[in-house]
Symmetry: D2
Subunit: 352 residues, 4 copies
């Protein structure tokens, strides 16, 4: 139950229920003397906030951060930074009809089995709203990494079976932030159609991390892929992750997959920037599979807390697709993991 902290050095602890008073995050282990650019952090919050995109939920939250500690005269103090987001547009009455019913594809049933108690007002901790706190901490991490020349960008590679081919050249464009815009119209009508049929969609997010020095990540259990997978697979709807060629690497020969080296560097980047769990200085590349949003208005079979069979139609203000708002979350978790590795590695510098 004490799993609300991520990181060994840049330690991020989140709290808050979807329909409680507030959400928030404590960042412990943030280096001192960093210029704290609240505006930048707030700009990342805007990318994720409900009501911030044309295609998302109708819930509208300003997601203004209240910074309670750790910053003094515009700079970080080396002490814990607490950032709070008050919930304003909760409308918890929306949820009263589902109080005793387990929504298919949701954590309702499993939370009930784990705790014997459940905040039925919209998912509690399992709500996507929890990721707002991650984005706040992740934006701070991105800010620090930027100062070290490390940039993180995520874009949409596919929606359902529509794949956006093409090179990864951020920044990507609203409203979809796909890697190539060629199929945006097709995707928008697919989303429109899903909405109409009370259904939902998933897709694949691709993330690139540029400027990472060689040497980050640890051998054995804390390989860079392992830590990044832990970070990204902890995002609600993610059901798979792959690095570099990923699953496609299983379908070619070793001689095709190995990245050969010359005096000017690696000839290819099939490994996705990581060898033996340690970064090799190339771009880190991974893709994350997002399942379709489980909240749909279509009628579904389920049971209630007594085990009785029920039919359910989830009304509410849900996204037919979470991919767009998930992009800053993927970037945030990646940033936290990379900065954590960076600080871990820094410990040993004096010794080198």
């Amino acid at each position: 139950m004490s799993a609300n902290t991520f990181g060994r050095n840049f330690r991020v602890t989140t709290f808050g229920e979807s329909h409680g008073k507030a959400l928030g995050v404590i960042v412990d282990g943030c280096p001192a003397n960093i210029e704290f650019d609240l505006e930048y952090i707030q700009s990342q919050m805007a990318r994720r906030r409900p009501g911030g995109t044309e295609i998302g939920t109708k819930r509208n939250e300003a997601d203004r951060l209240d910074v309670l500690s750790g910053v003094f005269e515009g700079r970080t103090e080396g002490t814990p930074i607490a950032m709070i987001i008050y919930n304003s547009d909760q409308k918890s009455h929306d949820y009263s009809t589902i109080k005793d019913v387990f929504r298919p594809g949701h954590a309702d049933y499993t939370y009930f089995m784990k705790y014997g108690i459940r905040d039925y007002r919209g998912g509690g901790r399992s709500s996507g709203r929890e990721t707002a706190a991650r984005v706040a901490a992740g934006a701070l991490a991105k800010l620090i990494l930027k100062g070290k020349g490390i940039e993180i960008d995520a874009g949409i590679r596919s929606v359902k079976n529509i794949v956006c081919k093409g090179e990864f050249l951020p920044p990507f464009k609203a409203p979809l932030f796909t890697i190539s815009e060629e199929r945006d119209e097709e995707i928008l009508s697919l989303i429109e159609e899903a909405k109409r049929s009370k259904d939902s969609l998933g897709g694949i997010v691709e993330c690139h991390i540029k400027g990472v020095p060689a040497g980050l990540g640890d051998p054995v259990f804390d390989k860079a892929e392992a830590l990044l997978s832990h970070a990204v697979m902890s995002i609600g709807a993610v059901k798979g992750i792959e690095f570099g060629l990923g699953f496609d690497a299983t379908r070619i020969y070793g001689s095709e997959n190995n990245d050969e080296m010359t005096s000017s560097g690696f000839l290819t980047n099939n490994a996705g920037g990581i060898l033996g769990g340690i970064t090799n200085g190339e771009e880190i590349v991974f893709r994350a599979a997002f399942k379709p949003t489980p909240s749909i208005a279509k009628e579904q079979k389920t049971v209630d807390t007594e085990g009785k069979e029920r039919m359910i139609e989830i009304e509410g203000r849900h996204d037919p697709i979470v991919l767009v708002r998930a992009l800053p979350v993927v970037e945030a978790m990646s940033a936290i993991a990379i900065l954590d590795m960076y600080l871990e590695d820094s410990k040993y510098e004096r010794q080198r």
Copy 2:
């Protein structure tokens, strides 16, 4: 650099270089009073040991465990269990020709960048040999889980582009341990051909975990998928992981992907046994992508520690495919992760 421990409760610490005196593992947090079935543990070691299969490396190691502590009169004492495996068939002279050269697809370059020092005798800690220690600890975890009705099995789902269709019905058969044997002959000739052309192969391993009670895993950062991904992605050659439908879930509608419930349970298991990061009582199902073995005898371009361009042909006793010997490793890491979640959950039982 201190990343040689996995687990919060059942804590596994491995040590030992591929060509050093010995490898080993310390298991701290193992419950007391468990019957310590060394024979069972040794049988799992046999599944992974070099020389143990027809299609693997020619290095031959008995991989006999020497249990130094934590077991008294055949039962665990609740104190750390130390298990040592002495290296006997090291042949480190095999490696002297590659002393200053970075093998493509290997950790040679990244270790050198991280530590400024490198055990060139066969990969050191980055060698697949390190997983022997994981299998010892994992076998102990499997033993304990078995006593709780939890069974873990892994099989080969595909080799290169040959996919083994069919239901997952272990135990699988030697020498390939594929999920269905229909295409074994094809696969064996593919391996034979790869060997002849001095090349190597990868593939996909599928793992099922049966009997896991609902309620394991933690919300937010330590979701069951996140912990299992951390565990499995920390295995050397793994470049991707997916749960349940995984990447395929991105290609269908929410209404198709959601697992509906009736009074007799879930109608489908697209989620792979995990909802909101917490186990739902269904079988946990995941697949891991293994890249082709990087050690190949084919000539490749690379550089040496001075940055000079070199050609390399990796002689040695390497597996053209690691999948078969990887199966007990995947099971071991899964067992460690699941037992760790189980113990984490047990903390709170008194309170329920």
Copy 3:
């Protein structure tokens, strides 16, 4: 720098500067379904709050807790509990004269050396005010322990050289909460005199923990004494701790110090309830040495941030003695440590 979390299971993370917007605490790992008695927690806050005792600082803070998360319909949810205390009576202008000067006996110099930046408005994180957040978390821990029959009480054993002899029979009486009241008048005039001479006093706090079952604490590095010492020695002014006979045990023979057993239990409790690092079912007894408050109005030699010699007289609203307000802090840290051991031990119950 990431040392603002205590506990492995009942994880307490505090944040907030003395003169910032707010202080607070996140409790992660609190069991679900516990009745959350805010009134009780608030009553513990009152014991520590500035302005709450006749003999303390003149700073007046209501120290009202704002519970932001983790509690639903009056019960804990198993999710992180966030409790915030807003600073109201900050008067940070009191501190501007000491902006560039290191106060003797304070953390000013060492923080400056560590971070190169310092919140000069009254100690920042090193202020005694930080302990308010610990008391909130500790009160919750005490509440849970009470439900298990475990009670924690601290009293004043000595002030300067005035020792209060007598049996430990809580509850103790205001305003001093000494273990026996016989010398209260003497102590009160000593405090009065210290105030007049612009000086300060220290003393010894004794703490008893009743009802702890045998078996808590871990062998080797996490012995019960080690964890309790870590917890209590982390309180600002504490410079020593001893268990049972403590330093006096060094002055007698083994045959005098060993606690003999009969069928009705231990004959003595010289060990203070802990043997080999594990609780033996007897009362846990320890004493903590509090140095005199470093903030005094008497003139002292010091240097400024440039290294120039300066004389300093610390004006402000400081306690001449912190012992009374320290009692709930000692109880809080003890409660957190004991509950943490209790949960650690619970993990293994199923297995016994």
Copy 4:
């Protein structure tokens, strides 16, 4: 139960029972490229080994370290260093008479209550023999610290009521290693007398750490005193610890206790080198209280595992006093804690 690891960065994991096959330690997080001076480490082992001093146990163990991993061509590799000590002179039959009886002052009863199983052959993990593994790891830490100009020395300040006054000027002399030798003869006859009367003695160990830079230790929960207390209080017979003036600081005024500063540094070191939990560049000074050895041949009352009353006379090869052999253990734990803080602090250097 998983408390056999100490440290966040320089992570020390010990294993092994007093009468099992072997003891050992894994050091994870040791910086790479350090010259591994085995002779030095072995010299520290000699200071602690049974049979190594005139006044200790008659058990004779060479305590030769077998280094299994982490060292290559005489230098650390950055990978886990495993050091094993085989038990040779076990004589476990000595212990068979106490198989079912709880020795007073020992962990026998509490281990039995915790685990329901007990290694009755001489204390198992609770034996002083476990500290051999700590000394090995601590010697490595001392070696690394020495390279940074940090020196750690412990001496005997008192035995029973005989206090050795005088300045702390190591190295101290055999056989007693008292801080001043003036009262050595008195102490030696006290020990002789205790042996004759089948009794045992305790005393106070003082430890000084020179050359620690200002800025180590963390605010709040991981203060330098808290971490050192955790480290030292985890040694078997220690029942108290104090820093600088310690308990005596409670008996003077704040104006007497505060260490004033001038441009040439601190005028006094009453704080023992730590202010607000962070080192101030002065010598760290602490004292640890060792209770008299619990193993005595004098007849004592106790009970057996069935709860029946029994008389016990502990035969065996026990030390009448452990202080001399405890000195390297106190230094070892201090070294581990200080190096751990040093590495923790190093993380943030790049950022300063």
